[in-house]
C-alpha cells in the first residue's frame, strides 16, 4: 500500500468568474478503518487564500502549522497578506527542501490575487508546481476527479453554479474511491464573502 493511501483524501479546487471553490472529503482513516468523519483538510491562510493538504494526515497538519507560522511572520514583517503566487512559491520551496526525505503531502492552493483574480495551483510531494486555469485535483480519488472535472467544468461559472459543479464532481468521484468520502466540505470564495457548506454524501 502506498503511503498516500494510508489516510485517504479527495481534494479539488476550481476557478469560476471572479471566484473560486475549494472542496474536500471528510474521512480520516487508518488504511481500511474509518476513525473520523469530520476531518478538516482545507485550512485558511488568510481571508482570500486557502490551502488543502492531501496525503498523510500527520504530515498535512505539520506542514500547515509551518506554513501558517511563515505567513504570520510575513504579515508581521510586510504588514500585509501574502499573494497566492508568492505563497505557492513558499510551499514549493519548503517541500523541495525535503527532496530526499519528503513530506507525504500534496497541497492544493487556491486564492484571490491582485484585482481579485482567482489563482489555483497544486504540487506533487516535492514541490513541482502545476498552475492551472480551470481546476486542480489531489488525493486518492484523483483519477476519478480528473475525469469528473474534465467533463463537468465550464469556464466563467457564477458562484452558485460553481458550487453545484464542484459538489457533483467531488461526490461522484468519492463514490468510486473506498478511501475517501463520508460527506464533503466546500468553500466558495468571492471578493465579498466566504460560503462554507458541508455536503451530505454516502456514508460508506
Amino acid at each position: 500500500m502506498s503511503i498516500f493511501e494510508y489516510n485517504g483524501s479527495a481534494l479539488i479546487a476550481m476557478v469560476g468568474k471572479n471566484c473560486f471553490a475549494i472542496a474536500s472529503d471528510r474521512r480520516l482513516g487508518v488504511q481500511l478503518q474509518t476513525i473520523a468523519t469530520d476531518f478538516q483538510r482545507i485550512y485558511k491562510i488568510h481571508d482570500k487564500l486557502y490551502i488543502g493538504l492531501s496525503g498523510l494526515a500527520t504530515d498535512a497538519q505539520t506542514l500547515y502549522q509551518r506554513l501558517f507560522f511563515r505567513h504570520k511572520l510575513y504579515q508581521l514583517r510586510e504588514e500585509r497578506d501574502m499573494k497566492p503566487e508568492t505563497f505557492a512559491n513558499l510551499v514549493s520551496a519548503i517541500l523541495y527542501e525535503k527532496r530526499f526525505g519528503p513530506y507525504f503531502c500534496q497541497p492544493v492552493i487556491a486564492g484571490l490575487g491582485d484585482d481579485d483574480k482567482p489563482f489555483i495551483c497544486t504540487m506533487d510531494s516535492i514541490g513541482a508546481k502545476e498552475l492551472a486555469k480551470d481546476f486542480v485535483v489531489a488525493g486518492t480519488a484523483s483519477e476519478s476527479l480528473y475525469g469528473a472535472c474534465e467533463s463537468m467544468y465550464k469556464p466563467d461559472m457564477e458562484p452558485e453554479e460553481l458550487f453545484e459543479t464542484v459538489s457533483q464532481a467531488l461526490l461522484s468521484s468519492m463514490d468510486r474511491d473506498c478511501l475517501s468520502g463520508w460527506g464533503g466540505h466546500v468553500f466558495v470564495i468571492t471578493p465579498t464573502e466566504v460560503i462554507e457548506r458541508t455536503l451530505k454524501g454516502r456514508m460508506d
Binding site: M1, S2, I3, F4, Y6, D47, K48, G55, S92, L95, Y96, E97, K98, R99, F100, G101, P102, Y103, F104, M123, D124, S125, I126, G127, A128, K129, E130, A132, S142, E143, Y146, S151, M152, K154, E160, E161, F163, E164, T165, S167, Q168, L171, G183, P191, T192, E193, V194, I195, E196, R197, T198, L199, K200
Partner: protein
C-alpha cells in the same frame, strides 16, 4: 633535553539552560531530517509516492543566427496526465534558456537556482551571462548529488562568443552539439533531426524542423503529448513562442455541457462569512501638531 609537556585543563561547564533544542531557520539547501522516518516507513512495507515526471521530448538545434529550443507540454504522474499544458522551457538568463526533462521538481528547482546565481553574477561582473557559465553551474550541482537530482537538460543560448547548445545528464556529464534531443521521446525526435538537419538553416526552416521533431515525439512517445513550445534565441533578441503548434485540440466537448440546477446537492450546513474591507489607518501628524 627538556621535554615540555602541556596539560590542557578541561572545564566542564554545566549549562544553566534546559536542554531545549532551538530550531534555527535553515540556511538553505536540502534538509534530511525526515529521511530516517521515511526509511522506517519503507521497511514497514509502505511504498514511497511517485513524483511528477516530465516524460518528455525536448530538442535544441543551432541555426544560422542562433539557437532554437523546442519542447512538448505534457506532465505525467505515473500513467496519468496531470498537466496538459505545462512549461518545460525555463528561463536562465535573458539570452539563455533551458529545457528540462526528468523529475519536474528537480528541473524547476535547479534551473531557478542557476538563474538566480547567474543574476548575482551579472550584477557582480556587469556583463552578459555566458552559456558556459550556466553549464558549469548546472553540471557541478548535478554531479555533486550523484544523479539523485534527476534533471536532464538541454541548455541553449547566444552570448558574446556565439551560439551554444549543450545537453546535461542527471549524473553531471555534458555534451556540446549542433543538434540535441533528450527525454523519453528523444529517439523519435533524433530520427527526424538525423535525416533532415543541415548546417546553416534559416529561422523558418529551423522552427519547422524543431516542430516536426517535437511532433514526432508527441505522436510516437506515450510520455510526451499536447502542444509544441518553441524558443528562438539570436544575438540580442529572444522569442518565446508558447504553444506555437497545438496539434491535439480537444474535440469531444459537449456543446451543452453539464448544467446542474440550483439546490441539487444536499447541503447539511451553510456558513456565510462576509469579508470585511481592510481599513487603512493613515498616520495624521497634523492632528498632534497644534
Amino acid at each position: 633535553m627538556v621535554v615540555v609537556k602541556r596539560f590542557v585543563l578541561q572545564v566542564h561547564r554545566k549549562s544553566d539552560m534546559s536542554k531545549a533544542v532551538v530550531d534555527l531557520p535553515p540556511k538553505g539547501g536540502f534538509s534530511f531530517d525526515l529521511c530516517r522516518r521515511n526509511e522506517m516507513l519503507i521497511s514497514k512495507g509502505v511504498h514511497p509516492p511517485s513524483f511528477r515526471k516530465t516524460g518528455t521530448t525536448i530538442v535544441g538545434l543551432v541555426f544560422k543566427d542562433g539557437v532554437i529550443l523546442g519542447a512538448d507540454t505534457r506532465a505525467t504522474e505515473g500513467p496519468i496526465v496531470c498537466d496538459k499544458n505545462c512549461e518545460k522551457i525555463h528561463y536562465i538568463a535573458p539570452n539563455i534558456y533551458c529545457c528540462g526533462a526528468g523529475t519536474a521538481a528537480d528541473t524547476e528547482a535547479v534551473t531557478d537556482m542557476v538563474s538566480s546565481q547567474l543574476q548575482l553574477h551579472r550584477y557582480h561582473t556587469g556583463r552578459e551571462s555566458r552559456v558556459i557559465t550556466a553549464l558549469t553551474l548546472l553540471k557541478s550541482h548535478l554531479f555533486s548529488y550523484q544523479g539523485y537530482v534527476s534533471a536532464a537538460l538541454v541548455l541553449g543560448g547566444v552570448d558574446i562568443t556565439g551560439p551554444h547548445l549543450h545537453t546535461i545528464y542527471p549524473h553531471g556529464s555534458t555534451d556540446t552539439l549542433p543538434f540535441a534531443t533528450m527525454g523519453s521521446g528523444s529517439l523519435a525526435a533524433m530520427a527526424v533531426f538525423e535525416s533532415k538537419f543541415r548546417e546553416g538553416l534559416t529561422r523558418e526552416e529551423g522552427i519547422e524542423l524543431v516542430c516536426e521533431a517535437i511532433c514526432s515525439g508527441i505522436f510516437n512517445d506515450l510520455g510526451s503529448g499536447s502542444n509544441v513550445d518553441v524558443c528562438v534565441i539570436t544575438k540580442g533578441h529572444k522569442e518565446y513562442l508558447r504553444n506555437h503548434q497545438m496539434p491535439n485540440p480537444r474535440t469531444y466537448v459537449s456543446s451543452k455541457g453539464y448544467t446542474f440546477p440550483k439546490g441539487l446537492t444536499e447541503v447539511l450546513t451553510t456558513k456565510i462569512t462576509p469579508l470585511k474591507e481592510k481599513v487603512e489607518v493613515i498616520e495624521g501628524n497634523d492632528a498632534m501638531e497644534e
